[in-house]
Amino acid sequence: MQHLKPARTLALASACVAALWTGAAFADPDLSAELVIDGELHITTRAPSDDITPNLPERYSGWLFRSAETRDLQADDFENPAMLAVEDGADLWETADGSNGQSCMDCHGDAAESMAGVRARMPHVNDAGVLWSMEDYVNNCRTERMGAEAWRWSGDEMTSMTSFISMQSRGMPVAVQIDGPAEPYWEQGRDMYYTRYGQLELSCASCHEESWGLNIRADHLSQGQISGFPTYRLKNAGIVSMHNRFRGCIRDTRAETFAEGSDEFRALELYVASRGMGLAIEGVSVRP
């Protein structure tokens, strides 16, 4: 632990007691670990804090809070199960769909060039001044240009496509725009972040700003960074989108949640993304 707060020593002590029983299966997260994919590509998982996150000493990717076994899965593209979705997305990219008989590739060409950096800038205010997530841009292409039906937000096709597009920005730092036309959305997201929801009266900050590093049940609370999304969650055996995760968090506070693709979640996505500026887009991550 690099930043041990006084409140955390209690958890540490109980973890030590547990370690006696479980043969040191419990441990504090190793915040000094390095994420290197296939021994080649270095992914930035620590970034300096700034005005956006005055209460965080440093920004940490959720990858650092996971067990060594789960971290290893992400460090090897062969073992990373999310790569299956990336391959499906690559196929969809080349497949014509809709009444115009066009594929993504017909307009956008090689995704490695045309989509590089796109994920790092999402969500982004569109030409009409409306904040859009990557899913909105994909569906807009499908309905307006291809004459195809919109995909469900968390359907297999959409999560495969967002996984594939996200991979084209792997290793690039988060760089969302939060000023100008994005500012009102960012402020809406910030207000949501500090609003307590549900019967448990928990805000995002209650866990991810005030209590990160502590245990939640048998797992460690991360800082709630979203630079790793889309994420392969082992418990779902599938890809989880950011809005899906937001919904899960708010549900866990015992609140009525917002819907995936709602204006509220787009605004929250922008604000939470900005809290991770400097962290690298992980392409597709693996979490428990």
Binding site: F78, E79, P81, L84, E87, D88, D156, L234, A237, G238
Partner: protein
């Protein structure tokens, strides 16, 4: 389900007689037969029930898989390579389909 697409990884090189690490991954839902759909009906079991690997016709490993194995089964094992040749990987689906993949391997 999308197309079944086996993935294989072998080391870049090995000497004759070496033991090498073989990694395989296949995308499959591994539907356990324990789940119900939104209408309350049982979703029929459909898993990969057997996986084999042969090298030049010699069986390296023959695995029986059970419903508790999670989706996209990943197999890692060691194989002796006495000479150059070809690996044959076979996955047997509950629905009767058989998926195969081959991978040549050169010893130095």
């Amino acid at each position: 389900m999308t197309d079944v697409r086996p993935r294989i990884r072998l080391p870049r090189s090995a000497s004759a007689g070496d033991s090498i690490v073989v990694k395989t991954l296949v995308n499959h839902d591994m539907e356990s037969g324990q789940r119900r759909n939104s209408a309350g009906e049982t979703i029929p079991r459909q898993i990969i029930n057997r996986f084999t690997c042969e090298f030049n016709g010699t069986m390296v490993i023959d695995v029986a898989l059970e419903p508790a194995i999670s989706a996209n089964p990943y197999m890692e094992f060691e194989a002796l390579v006495p000479e150059s040749g070809e690996f044959l990987f076979t996955w047997y689906d509950d629905n009767g389909e058989v998926y195969t993949a081959t991978e040549a391997f050169e010893v130095s």
